[in-house]
Symmetry: C2
Subunit: 313 residues, 2 copies
């Protein structure tokens, strides 16, 4: 299989669908729509939609069946980047080599564009209830999976813990109105941050694909484990690239080190981080092998696991 | 019927349920949970949950059936207030007489608390699928109603149009990257802002209650019309109170006039605004009269319509 070609076909399919869904939203002020489309069109890998469609295809369905859900997860990912880049959070000027949303549209519209992408992710997910081959009950389960992994106990919680952790390295604790942190050690904290900040949305992608395909509880569990492993590895590699990566290829400025963030690398060093990421990928392959079906889509998920540790941006 | 007593009972029922749902979310960083609860506990009227439960009760069900949906709509309302108060948006220091979320928890956590309330509104709405008497399909419809009215073509769009409109009065247009606005006249613009900024979430509340009760299309339509009328009236009265209201009772500082916002009052004056609000309330009563059922819950909706023009905060 030509995985690069497969990836690029899948990316352009997602890009087209995203534009169609956004432009179909009625009565949207022009500036808001531009701001939403700007960040959605800034050349991401569309990893989460590819994971979602592939997890679905393992069980025999066609990728077109789940395009609304695939676009929904990408919209949630994009909103999180817009808000994460805001001056009050990471204060990043560049994202994928382009000026961040608030640099182009101003902070107010960046907040609103993020809010809109997050909210309308759920209206676009709703379109999946009208899709041939998809059960309404499964779409409802997708809503719950997406909200759980993206919310306070998931991705947003990871961001909040990340904020809280900044004090661990710089020695100055930000005033977050908590006298004692609920984390015992920095190690537990960095695992919490990785799990929620990045792995959770990757878990949501795979679980949504599996649930839309009515996967058995056993297959669902193995796919979910696979997703958690590659998600954790993804964040570790991200932290390594933040230090050693080519800033031009990354399209950003290594703000984690600049902001003195608590990362796997800052705690354990580059070598041990790379070893840990490789172990996670090995476990991901094993979990995937236990899934009862085989075929091209499963191979794609194997390839994605390898891609995550091999990428240079 | 003692409407004040009914309101206060319903408010405390919502308050209790909100706390239970938020505290049941797992693995939430302490500071984030505090920030979410702070804004949820700041003494709002809980108008939207009362509308939702009453619209449901008209058709014979009990209010407990729809508490998850009622809490979801209040969480979306609360998130919108937190983000609206941010320095880059309305820059308000006070809300309901208390410091705004970002004044207490800092801007970063205020952004995240808003994001979490919005996201978890959908996970809590999901609990309604487990509720006796409630059909899964109806919960899915609620997701679509909530996302539509809260998103880019709804409430967030109203906020974006509001930003865009600030230039109309001050003479200085904010740079929103649109050379020509899509509004022909200030009149159309103010109607657009009112409809989306405030009325849309009120429509969502009533429509969600009606849909959860499997209301007939005809009853649904009349209830939706009722909601749009009271929602528009609500925003007009809000604009009037921003000018003439007792700041102590309002618990805020009349920032719309300060920020030179485009409002119904700034265009048409106080007298005509009051007349228009009264006309809308009269139409709301008529729409409600056309709903095929009668009883206490319908009376509550009539009372709410009157309350909206009579309130002084």
């Amino acid at each position: 299989m030509d995985i690069k070609k497969h990836f690029s076909e899948r990316t352009s399919l997602t890009n087209k669908a995203l534009k169609v869904f956004i432009k179909a939203l009625q009565d949207v002020p022009q500036a808001l729509q531009k701001s939403m489309l700007y960040s959605l069109s800034s050349g991401g890998k569309r990893l989460r939609p590819i994971l979602l469609t592939s997890a679905y295809e393992i069980f025999g369905g066609g990728k077109e069946d789940v395009l609304p859900a695939a676009c929904a997860i990408e919209m949630v990912h994009t909103y999180s980047l817009i808000h994460d880049d805001l001056p009050s959070l990471d204060n990043d000027d560049l994202r994928r080599g382009k000026p961040t949303n608030h640099k182009v549209f101003g902070e107010a519209l960046a907040v609103l564009a993020g809010d809109a992408l997050l909210t309308n992710a759920f209206s676009i997910l709703g379109h999946n209830a009208e899709t041939r081959n998809i059960k309404e009950k499964n779409v409802l389960d997708c809503m719950r999976i997406l909200a759980k992994y993206a919310g306070a106990g998931g991705m947003v919680g990871g961001q909040a813990a990340d904020l809280e952790a900044e004090g661990f390295l710089s020695g100055k604790k930000r005033s977050l109105h908590s006298n004692k942190t609920f984390f015992k050690t920095a190690n537990a904290l960095v695992n919490h941050i990785h799990l929620h900040k990045t792995a959770d949305l990757i878990c949501a992608s795979v679980e949504m694909g599996a649930v839309l395909a009515s996967a058995s509880p056993k297959d669902f569990k193995h796919l979910s484990n696979y997703a958690r492993c590659i998600g954790l590895a993804f964040q570790i590699v991200d932290d390594v690239l933040d230090i050693v990566g080519d800033k031009k290829k990354l399209g950003k400025t290594g703000s984690d080190a600049k902001n003195k963030k608590l990362t796997y690398v800052s705690l354990f060093g580059i070598e041990e981080s790379n070893i840990h990421a490789a172990k996670l990928i090995s476990k991901a392959h094993k979990e995937l092998d236990k899934v009862s079906r085989s075929g091209k889509a499963k191979e794609v998920l194997h390839e994605i696991a390898d891609f995550i540790v091999k990428r240079d941006k």
